[in-house]
Point group: C2
Chain length 505, copies 2
């Protein structure tokens, strides 16, 4: 049995660890053939030391150098697209077409190219020159960046090809990628192409490295290592909070995308006006990708009454008629089972689904729950438990006034949505809800489900804790996402020839 090597210091080398793991095909529930290593601490240390050397070597390189690497890498990914799509499909059960091949892969290469453009164009540097005081400042790289990718986007958020990777490289930082254990093969293919592209564009040895897995305690050591600049983590809240605590203790920035249930307020006028359209939009959004999106609408607020009842009945029918998708893996299923049970224990009633099975392989029936506004206010913490997957909770407010109270008790989320009537009759209520909702979400939407996260310079894929660790940063959208992986460098009375090029004015 051969064990896949790790990518450290510019070379694929056999891991010195003794533990291994294999990925499972969630559709067939069988193990995939390749065996991957769990990297021990010595391997982590070697990666960090190499990354630190690389960081020093590239510290004065122009953005053009990083842009060339990112672009070459995007080309290489495209030349291996069929293999990537096939393996990712086996490892995640996400549909090859259109999801992986026509949506996520182009999104990934587009992100890399947008990051290249941002590196070349350099607006993220924000140079400030005070000639009178002879003081200048500019943003610069923060140092080696560790990226933990999630299970649900094997391409676009992968630790070695996704948005965090692209943003960290654009700022001139070496990346140590930690692959997600559910799709190590996909990650390996990316890493092979990244390594080739790095060599072709003459990046230093430790600029791009890959570890498939570490023990939890070693993961904590990695994010708090004195030579690490920052960490990007997308994934489950529990693991993320353990890493955050370790990084925080060491004073190391860590950017997290942890969990979000994405509240949607459907105001009474909108419901009267276009219930059927909204039911369609909601069903599509909630079940897309078997609900496994960070921006899945998991919490719907309505004012109780016959129209709300009819709306829920219509959605229930659609949920029953829709096919049940395959989940990303056993872990997602267990999490979903546990958290639907937690919502029920907190007072939510089951309206549809709530049982394992119903689809191919690892699956869980399309699920709807409901609870009253009074109960939600009384158990706001428990009733905001994220049931990641094809499940959503409807909250029936006593009246319009209670909708506002409900907005006030919301946790931090990536998104918050309000559907309102087009004729203005919901406008006064909108004005009451908006200030509370605005402060609790990164992206506020009108009349549109939140699932899609456009790679737009204006996007904010972020939000207050516990959605992320800081409400001032976005994980998607260039050049804004680069800002996370930068440090502010000030030059006071530094001789002109020693200044970075952009400060020599």
């Amino acid at each position: 049995m051969s064990i896949q090597p790790v990518l450290i210091d510019g070379a694929w080398r056999a891991s010195c660890g003794s533990k291994t793991f294999q990925a499972l095909n969630p559709a067939t529930q069988t193990a995939l053939p390749d065996v991957y290593p769990v990297s021990p601490l010595s391997e982590i240390e070697a990666a960090v030391q190499s990354a630190a050397r690389a960081a020093r070597e590239v510290s004065h390189w122009p953005g053009e150098r990083f842009a060339r690497f990112l672009e070459r890498y995007a080309e290489r990914i495209e030349s291996r697209a069929a293999e990537l799509v096939s393996l990712a499909n086996q490892e995640t059960a996400l549909p090859a077409e259109p999801r992986l091949a026509r949506a996520e892969l182009p999104r990934t290469t587009s992100q890399l190219r947008q990051a290249a453009a941002a590196a070349r164009e350099g607006s993220w540097l924000r140079p400030i020159i005070d000639t009178k005081a002879n003081i200048r400042s500019v943003f610069g790289p923060i140092g080696p960046v560790v990226v933990f990718g999630p299970n649900n986007f094997p391409f676009a958020f992968n630790g070695i090809s996704g948005g965090d990777f692209a943003a960290a490289v654009a700022a001139g930082n070496p990346v140590i990628a930690k692959g997600h254990s559910s799709h190590p093969g996909t990650t390996r293919l990316f890493a092979e192409e990244a390594a080739h592209a790095a060599r072709e564009t003459e990046m230093p040895a430790g600029f791009v490295q890959l570890l498939y897995r570490t023990d939890h305690a070693d993961g904590e050591r990695l994010v708090s290592h004195p030579l690490v600049g920052a960490t990007g983590y997308t994934g489950a809240r529990e693991t993320g909070l353990v890493l955050k605590a370790a990084a925080d203790r060491a004073g190391k920035p860590i950017y997290l995308e942890l969990s979000s249930i994405n509240p949607v307020f459907i105001l009474p006028g909108a419901l009267s006006e276009r219930a059927s359209t909204i039911a369609d939009e909601f069903t599509t959004s909630c079940l897309m990708g078997t609900g496994q999106f960070c921006t899945n609408p998991g919490l719907i607020f309505l004012v109780a009454g016959p129209e709300a009842d009819a709306f829920l009945a219509a959605v229930r029918e659609k949920f029953g008629a829709a096919p049940v998708g395959t989940l990303l893996g056993e872990g997602v299923l267990q999490h979903l089972e546990r958290n639907v049970a937690a919502l029920r224990a907190a007072g939510a009633e089951l309206v549809a689904g709530g049982q394992t099975g119903g689809g191919k392989g690892v699956s869980y029936r399309n699920t709807l729950l409901r609870v009253s506004g009074d109960k939600f206010l009384a158990g706001a913490r428990e009733l905001q438990t994220e049931a990641f997957g094809n499940s959503s909770l409807f909250v029936f407010a006593r009246d319009a006034a209670q909708l506002k109270e409900l907005a006030v008790v919301l946790d931090g989320n990536l998104t918050g949505t309000v559907y309102s009537a087009t004729d203005g009759r919901d406008d006064a209520l909108y004005q009451q809800i908006e200030p509370a909702l605005r402060g609790r979400v990164g992206r506020l939407l009108n009349d549109k489900m939140p699932t899609g996260v456009a790679v737009s310079p204006a996007m904010n894929h972020g939000g207050p804790y516990p959605a992320t660790g800081h409400p001032g940063f976005t994980a998607v959208g260039l050049p804004a996402s680069i800002r996370r992986f930068t440090a502010l460098h000030c030059y006071d009375n530094v001789r002109p020839e020693r200044l970075p090029a952009e400060l020599r004015a």
Copy 2:
């Protein structure tokens, strides 16, 4: 005995707490007459609730409103300048002239006016409009900000008048100021003027509030309160780290300025060329304000040899001849005694001073220590203990190559300085030291001591941990310092009339 009231929800009210404290005059070592309360949790809760109401009320106000308040406040401070200077002098022993009256007070009102200009001009908002995707984003206020001011700048960093206060208000955030216990009277005078200015400019009741002191556990509750947006803290490392841990656990941003020893590398050519000038500059910088600056040069690196010995001898003579200043208080003295002892225990030898007394009131002799580069490398952690005050440690490197090794083991600092020869003979060595030093400091200086922190848009008064909590932010310099107290607000498909003005394009 009457106890000073606290400023909560727009009114001066008697504290409901039972504990009190008084400030000491460090020059006379006697208690000052006024008695101040320690606020209990119920008072903290009242302040937070009021601040949260104020935050919602002003959430859509234009920058002009905050600018008017800041400007009126600056005027009121000026009209009460004599009283402020006199009381601050009694509470801190900092010289009334020129320090308090001619340097720090004008700096403070200038900061408030610069913050007003930044609020009015609005460049910190950074609106981004993607008309094609119909997505827009803009920075907005983060929510109520708690500001803990330090002991060493009773005006310019005071929780209710300093840089953090000005930056938080400019972004439209209410402030809950926590005064420093060493100068409560100064803080009270500011708060009186702030309250007047707030009323005159029609700010809501809880926009500016003041608590003099809390128990430590209550301070932790304050920074981690669900309704608090962020905290700014300048002060001792120990207390700051306790607050940081509490805020981190709650996912609340906290900006810290904790400690910095500000390494200065004097390269061999510079020493040959102008040792006497550098000795003068160093002595002035190190003893100014009795060394009680965050940017005090506390660590000097030289290459061992006769010139370095002569340099140290010259500095020793100057330190002996210079008057010994009064320290800010007993706490500073005890910290200095303890940490000079810690440096000696770690292998540093005393060259001058090292004893309590020598000046008026609370004082400690002007102190110099020395250690070899080998010992520094072996005990780098202990030998980077901050001895805040009129003390500095000289490190004698074996040779030029060791200087580079020394730069690599440095902790994060606010500043790092290199003196080099004007004729180019140090340039190769500079190039070797710079990449390591650059990554460890917020502000890199050439040929100039770091003590002065100009209020320049290009300033970075920040740096990697443990100098601060994040290397991407500055506490001084407008509009850059505002960025800490903002959240990123994205609007996706939001109807035009509901957008903030700056996104309606």
